[in-house]
Symmetry: C2
DNA sequence: CCGTGTTTGATATGGTGGATAACAATTATC
DNA sequence: GATAATTGTTATCCACCATATCAAACACGG
């Protein structure tokens, strides 16, 4: 703290010099841009983000939407079966179902065969909401992806991702 | 509970009957298999899972690895800059850095120009670990993806995901 | 200079998902 | 009929993400 504490270089304090000379030079991603896992996660976040926007009027998360879809395609199944196919652990599936049931989108019905299990089914409202959600997803969400990648690009992407998801 | 409570059919008690007749029929994914977001997330989980396995000997998560990569490619940057380019919020980046610094993989050095900020740098050990991690990632992780998709397939996938991550 | 506003790293905190253990009720098995 | 397994549930823990706030340090206008 003898002669120059700040006087060091107010004239081009590295920030101003940067603006003039190098515009604060952006951070280089480097090899990160070749890391499939990194780009994959980034893309996934963007896609989910857009999904939420597109289906916002119906207040459905990707997980909730996927449950409604499964219930519609698989009537008569119980919680364990639905949760398993979605890769959700049974304990965590309970509150997810609670949220849907509290909104009267689906219902748990005690099975007659096995009184331990709950048969899951969509309510009328659930079917209606699902139908509207599907339309939003197709007309806004997937449409935007189609626009960005092209129909064939989207198919190719889907095929490769499916391969990874199933065989990796 | 009059005549047959259990006697209903021990011989094919609905589970056994299923095994014989329908093998407990798998739950149908239905339209879920065409939902890009769903497949994308599934694939992402698989890839991260494999990454963890491949780089397990070095005890590095994808996030930690990406930080080491960035520090190596961008010497002299501070926490805010690194965190921002990774999409990590500054508060959450603190503990992530703590974990790396406590293992002596990187270090925070007070900047001379701006004594608020910490210049981040890899330690010798950090560089060594990063080098070993890179080898594992390339030789095991990315190699497996190459094997599954083919070199051109992997490139095409990377290109489309990058497009989504950047332009979506 | 000085006061106001901003930035940086940090802490605290809340919310959400994922994972395990344990439990009562029910069913399966022998 | 006793023992084991399954189903839904609760409780709990941990990892991530997000917001508000703070002290220290800087920037800037008067």
């Amino acid at each position: 703290m003898a002669d120059s504490a700040k006087p060091v270089g107010k004239r081009e304090g590295r920030k101003e010099a940067a603006v003039a000379v190098e515009e604060t030079q952006a951070v280089q991603l480097g090899e990160l841009s070749d890391l499939l896992g990194y780009v994959l996660k980034r893309a996934q976040l963007k896609v989910f983000e857009d999904f939420l926007r597109c289906v916002a009027p119906l207040q459905l998360t990707p997980a909730q939407f996927s449950v409604l879809l499964l219930l519609d395609a698989n009537p008569g199944r119980n919680q364990t079966e639905i949760a398993n196919t979605l890769g959700i652990l049974r304990p965590n599936f309970v509150s997810l179902l609670d949220s849907l049931e509290s909104r009267d989108l689906c219902a748990r019905v005690r099975s007659a065969n096995d009184r331990r299990s709950h048969i899951l089914m969509l309510t009328e409202k659930g079917r209606a909401v699902l139908a509207r959600a599907k339309k939003l997803v197709v007309s806004k969400h997937e449409a935007r992806l189609n626009e960005l990648l092209g129909p064939d690009g989207r198919e190719a992407l889907l095929a490769m991702l499916t391969k990874i998801a199933e065989e990796f």
